[in-house]
């Protein structure tokens, strides 16, 4: 394949990806030149959750499975990326670690848009950098919510909520007030289950319930439940 047709096929592919549809010809060619191409066998690991990120991944062919793993080895698939899909979008923009792991569901070839290349497209619009970082942060948060709902028990999610919200009485910050229904909606459960989970946490000695007060008396014990 000549240099020209090699680049033309990359640019044509880029044009099918929403991110790059509106790129000018010169920029599209530059991005096309800077793409890294990688091929993976079926089942091969592409990257691991927590590692630093190479850039934005584009599926040229095949399918890629994006998943999270629990400490016990359970897995939840968050996305099967197919030809023309992007993945690992959040770290590609915010530079944080990969929020998920990726393996090739079948033999797959991907393009990687290096992070610097991606960020260079935003240079002309500083506000865009802020906007995509906020959106990347939201995406990370939602990924975490899915992880919590999938892998954690209600008691564990409640322990996390109490740790996040609890405020010492002598502090300036207002003490949060939540009904059991409100706690349930925040941990993705229902009132009765939350009521039982609160009693279970009390039995462990991590909290004490005194009338309308939930006292976090052993935060370390709650942390061990996460």
């Amino acid at each position: 394949m000549s240099e020209q047709s090699w680049l033309a096929s990359r640019v044509a592919f880029l044009r099918t990806i929403s991110y790059f549809t509106n790129l000018g010809e010169e920029e599209a060619r530059r991005v096309g030149r800077e793409l890294l191409e990688r091929s993976f066998d079926r089942g091969q690991l592409i990257f691991i959750e927590g590692e630093s990120c190479d850039g934005l991944y584009l599926v040229k062919s095949g399918q890629v499975r994006l998943f999270k793993s629990s400490p016990e080895g359970r897995e939840i698939v968050l996305l099967v990326a197919r030809q023309g899909d992007t993945f690992n979008d959040a770290p590609a923009f915010d530079g944080g670690p990969n929020p998920v792991s990726a393996t090739a569901l079948e033999a797959a070839t991907v393009y990687i848009v290096p992070r610097q290349t991606l960020l260079s497209l935003l240079e002309a619009c500083p506000a865009a950098v802020g906007i995509v970082n906020v959106l990347a942060g939201r995406l990370r948060h939602l990924t975490k919510v899915v992880e919590d709902l999938s892998f954690r028990s209600v008691a564990s999610r409640l322990a996390k909520l109490l740790l996040e919200l609890a405020v010492a009485e002598e502090r300036v910050a207002p003490i949060p007030r939540l009904t059991q229904d409100e706690m349930a909606s925040m941990v993705g459960s229902v009132r009765d289950v939350v009521g039982r989970a609160l009693r279970a946490l009390e039995q462990t000695g991590a909290i004490k319930i005194q009338g309308h007060r939930i006292l976090v008396v052993n935060a370390e014990m709650l942390r061990k439940m996460l």
Partner: protein, 72 residues
């Protein structure tokens, strides 16, 4: 400990279910609306909140961090 049960007089229809079911008789109807009349008697079982079909009663919990004392 005084109760912090919140009753919305706008939402309360005065049906009296909370008055009948309250195990400590802490709530009563006053001018046709449910009111906590014996705050110290309320044991915060939150039954009234569960039973109210009109969403008029909230039983929020304060979430308080008890920090370990220094040196312990």
């Amino acid at each position: 400990m005084a109760s912090i049960v919140e009753i919305s007089s706008e939402k309360c229809t005065g049906c009296g279910v909370c008055v009948i079911k309250c195990p400590t008789q802490a709530v009563a109807l006053v001018d046709g609306k449910a009111v906590i009349v014996r705050s110290k008697a309320c044991n915060y079982c939150t039954e009234c909140e569960t039973l109210c079909d009109f969403g008029a009663i909230r039983c929020p919990f304060e979430i308080i961090l008890v920090e370990p004392e220094v040196g312990k």
